[in-house]
């Protein structure tokens, strides 16, 4: 089982942290710090496996990491995962990110934490590997985005009138109606 997935940069700033086991808030931060401490000391030409620290739990757990430019991708896994398998899973994850963000860089991860989480959610679910095929992952994420968008008109329509009613009771109702008039052509355009 995958216990945690951490991404941090060369200075130890966390860029993504996802825990599949429950730790307290403080422990999570300590794990991130300890992991960074362990990983950052490693040279480039050494192996990608590490023993977990005390926090992440004893001899059964391993840290498997990859270093890409400014970012470290670390998976904390227990003995039921294959080391090399996870190593390639990280590769798949990064390639997927690269495809989704088009030349992914640290900034993408910072500003789109949520999207990174969605991509990860299609790969790993509840600590178990769900999908390892990059194209499949992208299809899933895309279909979500698409379906959300196609829902928008309906939502907007249902949403604005009630909202209007609410606002109408307020002194600035006039302003609102003005705005709505302004918006109308846009909505029509969109529905086409």
């Amino acid at each position: 089982m995958i216990k945690a997935i951490l991404i941090f940069n060369n200075h130890g700033k966390p860029r993504l942290s996802k825990f599949y086991e429950h730790y307290s808030e403080d422990t999570e931060q300590q794990i991130i710090r300890e992991t960074f401490h362990l990983v950052s000391k490693r040279d480039e030409n050494v192996c990608n496996f590490l023993e977990g620290g005390i926090l992440i739990g004893g001899s059964d757990n391993k840290l498997i990491y990859r270093h890409y430019a400014t970012l470290y991708f670390v998976f904390c896994v227990d003995s039921s995962e294959s080391e090399l398998g996870i190593l390639d899973l990280i590769q798949v994850f990064v390639e997927t990110l690269d495809k989704c963000f088009e030349n992914v860089c640290e900034l993408d991860l910072i500003f789109h934490v949520d999207k990174v989480h969605y991509i990860l959610g299609e790969m790993v679910m509840g600590g178990m590997v769900l999908e390892t095929n990059m194209n499949e992952i992208i299809t899933q994420v895309d279909s979500q985005n698409k379906m959300e968008k196609s829902e928008y008109p309906a939502t907007a329509q249902g949403f604005i009138p009630t909202w209007l009613l609410f606002k109408a009771g307020q002194p600035d109702a006039q302003k609102v109606s003005v705005l709505l008039v302004l918006l109308e052509p846009l909505l029509v355009l969109y529905q086409q």
């Binding site: 620290g53 500003f111 934490v113 679910m125 769900l130 095929n133 899933q140 379906m147 969109y190």
Partner: protein
């Protein structure tokens, strides 16, 4: 175009919010986050960051709680909260809003809401209950995305109690037309299985359907569940092995669609998963293993592309091949594979190669030999992880000959190591090796000193404890012990003389204990000198108060010695002690102050001191009744009056908590779901059996373990090593010759070590060094004795510092000691026949049953370690009266029977056995021939000695009759004179003793044995009962023929019987069990530790219980098992066991009050002793 619209829509709420910052609304949601991030990156100090984020959080808080906030704004703020939480700042105010967002939002907002929930909350969070309804709604939604989101959040966390609410919906999704939904549903069920296995038991057939799903993705997801279930118990799934092998064959054969390929390897992760499952299934099962040989072979063959992922598959194959039933051809290929790994220039592969070597080395030491030069290189590798793994490998191949080199390497690594976890782990291993294979005392003490100073205060506390125990218990030879102790004292004194500032606390504690205890062994060292060395420690600020109290205790012990020493030295020493005590008698630490005051008093009163800290008996045994058994009566009385049985505080708390929690499970499944996970050790039953050990202090446990452990292993074929299956073909050779030799042969064998090194014409200096190292590392690892490695974990015979109790296997030595001890006639221990119920039988002489009596001459003989007293050097050395009784402790009767007292065929229940020649030949010692035939074939215990004096030895054994327990007493006249008027009386208030008096005998000739017996029944359940009694006789005065003159002698008898002796199996069918279960009321629940938790723990635990407690195992279904037994003539007791989260949840029910509690206690003990 739609992009533009979306941006506008995003801006809409901002525009319409009509607050003063209409302008700010133009910033898109990401830019608010962007601002935050930008300002964070501009900051330089952590402190500033904290301030900024606090401010940000306050702002978010204000905004989220305002009623005007739209869902869209909420979504944006959730993203910001997520960011803050990731940085480690608590944003708990936003949790409830995240739930709200998931509930009320639509589309993207809902997704953010769910994401925030899964990042913020955990499965125990109370707010999670609020999410249940949302999840329910979304699972029923027609929108596939919403269903997916709900399933994802469920598999991340879900309140255990609410599973039944959504389970039907999730199950329904298993038949959903969409593949992705089915797949997620399977993973959600996997999660349920992990947190509440009994909830999903009824849908096992659906798992099987998922396994047969037409979509490979769903099948792959179901493997997660199967892997988990097979890990917990492979038996039930063996028949699936063929299917798994077939799937793997198809995958390997490229039958999957091409989009499953990764770097042109077909579904590699799926292959890995399948290989793991097959490994577990094939373990220890030949027929299953045979199913997979060809597919493993094919996997090995196909995985030839030079890519990471193929190596991952290869590695799994190799592990599988070495775990399942061995196949020579495959093993050969696997060995080649390992070679490729180890020799690979890629460091990741080298690491895995070493790991594989470590895994297989106990089966195939040759493999390590082949790669010895690579291993040597890895030892000096720049990567610490590689080094670490190499040490792990070396640890496995350590033997008495290479131990010094290996330990040296480990210590060198430790000195440079800064990672706490690694230090803790490695220090333990060094200590283990040192204890097992130490070549001499000097090396041992020095190694342990390094361990203590390197391990420091990170060291697991059992290392120093074990070390001290070893010192105090000693080994077989007195002289060895003395030397070890002397050496330890000398080395510690010199350590203290140089500079003790850098020594860690634990080490200081060890030093002070050793000096306090043993410095008198060194003649040149006067106590006051030692005190002088110790006292400065008390003033050091770095020394903790814990250590100070160790030091003070040492000073107290030394002070005693100082006072009883020479006059000059004595007064000097006493003065010093008084000064120290005075100084600390006003310490702020209460414990320290108390100790100091005690010391002060003692140092003023030499007589008192001599009494309290007797010098001469330093090594003599003290009887410590650590279990407070003298309170047993009180406890059982209280229980009889209806008092509630004792529960440890945490269990009470747990129960309280459970009562509070809402039970949302259906009634039918009301099994213990989360009992407290207390271990056996936690439950300090007041009715533990009392043990008087040969040591002062708390070593009873160890004595126990060692005693029972070593016996049982005898003759047991070792099929399992520390790490897996030991190949059958290699077993026949028992732990073999090179280790057997107690003095290790230090000469290196160059042809052995160097045999396989690549021949190089002119080895460089460095090369030669390495080869030398190799020969010293791999000594004792040649092909012919490779099997000795397998014996290693248990190779007690090769252990240098054997604890005395383990010595039971060396029958010759102990019989030798009884030879020398006294007398011509002695009994040989004839068999190690192990009978079920544990029976601690006190070997007492002249009533030492009272626990207050801390007499040295009372020794205890455990039912399963009858040798103990004889092998116990201390007891022999310090107790002149012991030999006679010890000799009889050795007496064991391979089988014995007894007749029912009320049987008409017997007269008086006592039989005189004609004097038989008491030859040492065990075959003549079968006493069963003297006993009535009706009891001869019944199961009975070993004979244990009860009491003895110079002329009469009394021993007893228990015969388990169907309807009662028969206690058979054997009276052996060991003296030269005939004994007259022998009469036995037994009493026990808690038992119904069927024949209480009588058993008188007019005369018992010299060298003859007589037998009498009692039938016993337990009326009320007690965990243990004490049977006491006495035997009186007169000695015939051989010379004068005036028997009346000689005085009457009395021997006190005392033996303990446990509840287990009164239990008999109760044969029931599952239905009968079910009926009975519902009809009885007294129940007790407890979690206890499992036996070998790695493989089939339930079965092995239950079997252990069956052996020990005479249970009848009714049925084992999955992770649950039921068993039944009955208390003789009283009533049944039913057991329900369930393996849950690594512990065994025991639930006992019985109509007899007190019986479940008593039985539970014995169950704990039975498993503890294993």
């Amino acid at each position: 175009m739609s992009d533009v619209v979306e941006k506008t829509l995003t801006a809409l709420p901002g525009l319409l919010s009509l607050d003063s910052q209409t302008g700010a609304g133009k910033l898109s949601s990401t830019s608010k986050l962007g601002n935050l991030i930008r300002s964070i990156t501009e900051l330089t100090s952590k402190h500033d960051e904290e301030k900024l984020i606090k401010r940000e959080l306050v702002a978010i808080k204000e905004q989220v709680s305002s009623p005007n906030t739209t869902m869209r704004q909420m979504k944006e703020m959730m993203v910001r909260s997520i960011y803050c939480e990731m940085l480690g700042y608590e944003a708990d105010f936003s949790y409830i809003h995240a739930i709200k967002l998931a509930q009320q939002g639509a589309g993207l907002e809902k997704r953010v809401g769910y994401l925030a929930v899964s990042l913020f909350l955990n499965e125990n969070h109370e707010l999670l209950l609020l999410l249940v309804n949302t999840v329910l709604k979304d699972l029923q939604s027609t929108n596939l995305i919403e269903v997916c989101m709900a399933l994802t959040v469920v598999s991340q966390m879900f309140p255990k109690d609410m599973i039944p609410a959504i389970l039907p919906l999730v199950e329904e999704k298993l038949t959903h037309p969409k593949e992705i939904i089915r797949r997620k549903a399977v993973l959600a069920l996997h999660k349920f299985y992990l947190i509440a296995p009994n909830q999903v038991q009824h849908i096992h057939s659906k798992f099987r359907k998922a396994l047969c799903d037409k979509d490979p993705g769903v099948m792959a997801a179901s493997l997660h569940i199967y892997l988990q279930m097979i890990k917990e118990g492979a038996e039930a799934y063996r028949e699936l092995a063929g299917s798994f092998a077939a799937i793997l064959r198809q995958v390997v054969g490229g039958k999957l669609p091409v989009e499953f390929n990764y770097h042109s390897v077909p579904a590699p992760w799926l292959q890995i998963q399948l290989l793991r499952i097959l490994t577990l299934l094939g373990k220890d099962d030949q027929s299953t293993s045979e199913l997979m040989y060809d597919v493993l072979d094919e996997s090995l063959r196909r995985a030839e592309i030079n890519h990471n992922i193929t190596y991952a598959i290869l590695f799994e194959c190799v592990k599988a091949i070495y775990t399942i039933h061995p196949n020579a051809e495959l093993m050969e290929k696997a060995a080649k594979c390992i070679g490729n790994f180890v020799l690979s220039p890629k460091i990741n592969l080298k690491y895995l190669g070493l790991k594989a070597l470590t895994y297989v080395v106990q089966q195939d030491a040759n493999l390590a030999l082949q790669h010895q030069m690579t291993i040597i290189e890895c030892l000096d590798h720049s990567d610490r992880i590689i080094k670490r793994e190499t040490l792990e490998l070396l640890f496995r191949i350590t033997n008495a000959q290479n131990v010094t080199v290996i330990v040296e390497k480990m210590l060198a690594f430790l000195r440079l190591c800064h990672e706490d976890y690694t230090i803790m782990d490695l220090v333990g291993k060094v200590a283990e090796l040192a204890e097992k294979y130490a070549p001499d005392n000097r090396w041992f003490v020095e190694t342990m000193s390094t361990v203590f100073s390197v391990g420091g205060d990170l060291m697991p506390p059992d290392i120093p404890t074990n070390f001290l125990r070893l010192l105090s218990e000693g080994s077989d030879s007195e002289e060895d012990d003395r030397q070890l102790r002397v050496y330890a004292v000398e080395s510690y004194v010199s350590l203290l003389q140089t500079d003790p500032t850098h020594l860690p606390q634990r080490f200081l504690q060890v030093i002070s204990w050793v000096l306090g205890e043993y410095s008198h062994l060194v003649d040149v060292l006067s106590p006051s000198q030692v005190i002088d060395l110790l006292v400065p420690l008390l003033d050091r600020p770095a020394v903790t108060s814990d250590t100070r109290s160790w030091v003070l205790s040492a000073v107290a012990k030394l002070g005693g010695g100082a006072c009883s020493g020479s006059v000059v030295d004595g007064s000097e020493g006493a003065g010093l002690v008084q000064r120290v005590a005075q100084q600390h008698s006003s310490s702020l630490d209460t414990q320290l102050r108390q100790q100091a005051l005690e010391l002060l008093l003692l140092s003023r009163d030499p007589q008192l001191q001599a009494r309290v800290l007797p010098r001469a008996t330093a090594g003599a045994s003290l009887e410590v009744d650590s279990s407070l058994s003298f309170l047993d009566g009180f406890v059982s009385e209280a229980l009889a009056r209806g008092a509630a049985p004792y529960k440890p505080p945490h269990q009470r708390q747990e129960e309280l908590r459970q009562e509070k929690a809402l039970s949302l499970e259906p009634y039918g499944l009301s099994l213990p779901i989360s009992l407290s996970s207390c271990s056996i050790a936690d439950r300090q039953s007041p009715t533990l059996l009392s043990i008087s050990s040969g040591l002062s202090g708390n070593s009873t446990e160890l004595l126990h373990r060692a005693g029972s452990g070593s016996l049982r292993l005898d003759g047991v074929k070792r099929k399992w090593g520390k790490d897996g299956y030991l190949a059958q073909r290699e077993v026949p050779e028992e732990p073999s010759t090179p280790q057997e030799t107690s003095t290790p042969a230090p000469q290196p064998s160059p042809q052995q070590g160097g045999a396989l090194t690549p021949p190089s014409a002119e080895p460089s200096e460095e090369e030669r060094d390495k080869q030398q190292l190799a020969s010293s590392l791999f000594i004792g690892l040649s092909s012919q004795n490779s099997t000795c490695l397998m014996g290693k974990p248990e190779a007690s015979s090769s252990q240098r510092f054997r604890r005395k109790q383990k010595n039971t296997d060396s029958a010759s030595s102990s019989s030798g000691s009884s030879h020398s001890s006294r007398g011509a006639n002695h009994f040989l221990y004839s068999s190690l026949l192990e009978e079920g119920p544990v029976s601690p039988i006190m070997l007492t002489q002249n009533s030492v049953a009272q626990p207050k009596h801390k007499e040295a001459n009372s020794t205890l003989s455990e039912g399963d370690t009858p040798f103990l007293p004889a092998a116990n050097g201390i007891a022999e050395g310090h107790d002149p009266e012991a030999p006679a009784s010890l000799m009889l402790a050795n007496e064991a009767l391979s089988s014995a029977g007894g007749g029912a007292r009320d049987s008409p065929s017997l007269m008086g229940g006592m039989e005189l056995v004609q004097p038989c020649p008491l030859t040492p030949d065990p075959s003549h010692r079968s006493l069963s021939s003297h006993l009535p035939p009706e009891l001869q074939n019944l199961p009975c215990s070993d004979c244990a000695s009860l009491a003895s004096d110079g002329c009469l030895a009394l021993s007893c054994c228990r015969v388990h009759r169907e309807d009662a327990l028969v206690l058979v007493l054997l009276m052996a006249n060991t003296g030269g004179a005939t004994l007259l008027d022998v009469s036995v009386e037994l009493q026990c208030p808690q038992l119904k003793v069927a024949s209480l008096r009588g058993n008188a005998l007019e005369s018992l000739p010299s060298q003859s044995v007589s037998v009498c017996w009692y039938t016993l029944l337990m009326e009320e359940p007690h965990t243990h009962v004490e049977v006491t009694g006495s035997l009186s006789y007169r000695k015939e005065c051989g010379a004068s023929h005036t028997p009346d003159i000689s005085a009457s002698h009395t021997l006190d008898i005392s033996t303990r019987l446990s509840l287990a002796h009164f239990l008999r199996p109760l044969v029931l069918s599952t239905e009968e069990y079910g009926k009975l279960w519902l009809s009885v009321s007294q129940d007790v629940k407890q979690n206890i530790q499992l036996l070998d938790p790695d493989r089939d723990p339930l079965r092995s635990s239950l079997t252990a219980l069956q052996d020990k407690l005479q249970l009848h195992i009714v049925d084992i279904i999955g992770s649950e098992g039921i068993a039944a037994c009955q208390l003789l003539r009283r009533g049944p007791c039913l057991l329900h066991c369930r393996v849950h989260a690594g512990v065994l949840a025991l639930w006992l029910r019985s109509p007899v009050p007190g019986l479940p509690d008593g039985l539970l206690y014995h169950c704990q003990r039975a498993l503890q002793e294993r």
